[in-house]
């Protein structure tokens, strides 16, 4: 299984200035301020489950932009209903990346409830028409490229390694700063 940072690096390298990136709380939100991201970034430091509906609102408001939402499996397990909401709204410009490591990483790496969720099947059952999986950088590049070209809301399930020793930087931006800089 691939570590988080190479996957995040690969994703950021595929973004363009016409995109918008919304990140759930946790490792991705903490890495992003230290990376050169070519599009506006709205990173959450609280509010599990908010990334996808937040991105949905942006995508509906700005159909000229492609919005990419990063969500964690712990967050989505808390509110899988959002998949049906996205499917019903059907924005062609929303791509969701679900980072699956089976852990509540931002709160210390506690395990999720001990069951293996078939995220791709769940998303399809909720009406998401374009679903793909990626387990390494090459797979992510291919899956993301196809997802953003799907013309329909898409979900890429990204299997990511959990490393309790990973040196994830702390939150380094205040919410006011994040909001002020986010301009579409």
């Amino acid at each position: 299984m691939t570590a988080r940072k190479p996957l995040l690096d690969a994703l950021v390298a595929m973004l363009t200035p016409r995109d918008a990136l919304v990140s759930c709380l946790g490792a991705n939100a903490r890495y992003l301020p230290h990376m050169t991201v070519p599009c506006p970034v709205f990173a959450l430091c609280d509010s599990m489950s908010a990334a996808i509906p937040l991105a949905l609102g942006m995508a509906l408001q700005r159909p000229d932009r492609h919005v990419v939402a990063l969500e964690g499996d712990g967050s989505l397990l808390m509110s899988p209903n959002v998949l049906a909401t996205v499917a019903a709204a059907a924005p062609p410009n929303l791509t969701m990346l679900l980072w699956v490591n089976g852990r509540y990483e931002s709160s210390g790496g506690q395990a999720l409830p001990a069951v293996t969720v078939d995220w791709a099947a769940l998303a399809r059952a909720a009406g998401i028409g374009h679903v793909a999986a990626a387990g390494d950088v090459a797979g992510l590049r291919e899956a993301f490229t196809r997802a953003r070209a799907a013309g329909a809301p898409a979900l890429v399930v990204v299997e990511v390694a959990f490393d309790p020793a990973e040196a994830i930087p702390p939150y380094s931006e205040r919410p006011d700063e994040i909001r002020a800089r986010f301009q579409l």
Partner: protein
């Protein structure tokens, strides 16, 4: 003009672009009016916290979002109000059906009716009851503009009789 029509007119006058909702009987009637508007985009969500995030996303993207839900759903929203709306100082306008007060003496709504306004005060959420004797459109527009100017939430509580 019915109260329902006035509320929709107020959303339009407040330049709301996206209305995210989980319906109850009253909000469902109101959303039927929203859907008849060519200036409002109705977004049906599965849970009320999603509606808050959708509205905030619309605001961050340059539009104006509104949330139409029942008070039961508002009571679900404490976490996202604190962790998104308040923390990031985002405008978020709510129209909430106030079920279970003296005008709606239904036993299974009454527990919500007893705690709604006390909860709003405890959460320090600016709020008001809609006044059907006045101009509902103006009250809605004022609420939307309060959110934009204060970078925060405002809750307008409505009753079924406000829609007539």
């Amino acid at each position: 003009m019915t109260g329902l029509e006035q509320i929709v007119a107020g959303l339009e006058a407040g330049q709301v672009s996206i209305v995210a909702s989980v319906p109850d009987t009253w909000i469902g009637r109101l959303m039927a009016g929203v859907r008849r508007s060519s200036r409002l985009r109705a977004v049906d969500v599965a849970r009320e916290e999603e509606a808050v995030a959708v509205a905030c996303g619309a605001n961050l993207a340059g539009g104006r979002g509104a949330v139409l839900i029942q008070n039961a759903g508002l009571l679900n929203c404490g976490g996202i109000l604190a962790g998104l709306v308040e923390l990031y100082r985002l405008p978020c306008f709510f129209i909430v059906s106030l079920r279970g007060d003296h005008r709606d003496p239904v036993y299974y709504h009454a527990p919500k009716g007893r705690v709604t306004e006390e909860t709003l005060r405890a959460w320090r959420l600016p709020h008001a009851r809609a006044d059907r004797r006045g101009d509902l459109a103006a009250q809605v527009k004022q609420g939307v503009e309060f959110c934009v100017e204060s970078r925060g939430p405002f809750v307008l509580l409505i009753s079924g009789e406000d829609l007539g």
